[in-house]
């Protein structure tokens, strides 16, 4: 067995009295895309923060490619694509500026860009098909383009593990397909990708595996199995069965076998 790309072992996190993660364990092999599904407050963002080392868990440990998260961070191994609401889209930066921020970890004291840095940024922008938009202020992109700009930042950084928080929120169908294709490409190049999403539609297309989270990992398996209504009901509460939940009618038929 190869070393897992992400190993979350028995992690517990409290915020004051509130329990966010309860002995959560998760193992993810390299070059896989994993969808993280759970309600608001189920601990998805907490799990991200623990993997990035922003929160020290009360118990348990995290390893990324067998080493500590802080070491991986210093090597530029972790890329992060924030939720739209977390970003100040009025900030006076161009798409190029934002992608260049992926290179900072590789640069010297003043973060002066070298030729190699600029080449990496251009390449990343081409890869996500934003080359022509490099000079735009970031707020002047469409929802899908914004997401791709941040994915480009992770590519320029050389991240081997990428964490995406709600990448499909506020994104139209076509951009969703573009992002899905892009992430699949990155995974086939060896990048391990963890995606937290409410959008159960997109999961079977995008993910190799899915995780149901409700403070602990309730289930981890192929998306089709995890997205069975009876399983979703465990994570989201029973009323989900009564609603016509999108995941059911959309579970793409051909995907069922490939997953």
């Amino acid at each position: 067995m190869s070393t897992p790309a992400i190993l979350v072992d028995n992690v517990t996190v409290h915020y004051g009295e509130v329990l966010a993660l309860d002995a959560a364990s998760l193992t993810l092999d390299p070059a896989r895309i994993c969808g993280l599904v759970g309600m608001n407050g189920s601990g998805k963002s907490t799990l991200f923060k623990v993997i990035m080392g922003m929160i020290r868990p009360d118990g348990g440990s995290v390893r990324i490619h067998g080493q500590s998260p802080s070491r991986t961070r210093r090597e530029g191994g972790i890329g992060y694509v924030p939720q739209s609401e977390e970003v100040d889209w009025q900030f006076p930066l161009s798409v190029h500026d934002v992608v260049m921020m992926g290179r900072y970890g590789h640069q010297g004291f003043t973060r002066r860009a070298t030729k190699a840095d600029r080449a990496a940024v251009d390449e990343a922008l081409d890869r996500v098909e934003l080359g022509p938009y490099a000079g735009r202020q970031i707020g002047q992109l469409s929802g899908g383009q914004k997401k791709r700009a941040f994915v480009a930042r992770g590519i320029a950084q050389g991240a081997t593990t990428m964490l995406l928080d709600e990448p499909f929120a506020g994104v139209d169908k076509r951009s969703e397909a573009t992002i899905t294709r892009l992430l699949r490409e990155l995974a086939s190049d060896g990048c391990t990708i963890l995606v937290s999403t409410h959008d159960l539609h997109a999961l079977p297309e995008l993910c190799d595996e899915a995780v149901l989270l409700m403070h602990r990992v309730l289930m981890h398996g192929p998306p089709d199995r995890v997205l069975q209504p009876e399983n979703l009901a465990r994570a989201f509460g029973l009323d989900v069965l009564n609603r016509n939940f999108p995941a059911q009618d959309h579970r793409a038929k051909p995907k069922e076998r490939t997953a």
Partner: protein, 288 residues
Amino acid sequence: MELLLEPLTYDFMVRAIATTALAAVVCAVLSCWLVLIGWSLMGDAVSHAVLPGVVLAYIVGAPFALGALVFALVAVTLIGVVRNTSRVKEDAAIGIVFSSLFALGLVLISVTPSQTDLNHIIFGNLLGVSVPDLIQVLVLGVVAFAILILKRRDLTLYAFDPTHAHAIGLSPRRLGALLLGLLALTSVVALQTVGVVLVVAMLIIPGATAYLLTDRFSRMLVIAPAISALCSVAGIYISYYLDTASGAMVVLTQGVVFGAVYLFSPRQGLIGTRLAKARRKKAAAPAV
């Protein structure tokens, strides 16, 4: 020309202009980050809270900057403690801490002999800048400016996306602390010129003005100090000829320029955007 040269025949005017321009540039550069992070109130707080530190430094004969840094730290810590350990919200915590510390400074001034010097700290004393004052402002200003410029990319990253800063192994906490430290240092620089009460103007207005003029942070870092330096020098000249308070005139000039930019900036200005809207409406009308 005569009008511009005449004041320069007085040494105190030359010193006033040099000090103000320098303080204006350093404050303006810092203000670019403060307005984007949303730290204007923090700027207000720290610039007021350093007062007791400056007075105590004066009493024991230590450098003003040291006292200011210590009290900036005290203020930020107290704000954090009040916010995190009680139900009081951040803006209230900031208000309580900085006004209390400012009051402490005033009390200390009232019991300290040789009050004249210290009263100048409150309202500034541009025309009374001595040569040692000028040297102190120069040293502190150059240090703060150099750190801001050398670390500008990290500070911008911190302002824009602290999570990413963390993800690539930088420490957002340390960057935030660096920015607060520089805020304290810069406050001391500006104390000499416009005084504690008006420092906050120099720490907010230039950055806000530049923000309305460009979509590039790198350009903000040029526009803000340029506007701020021009306004300061203009303000001093105006105060010279109109015989008004010089520090206040500098701030007033900056405020007026902000007002003009707010109205007339091509892309962000109130009038520009209204006109563009009207034009779009007109263009759309025949089609309907």
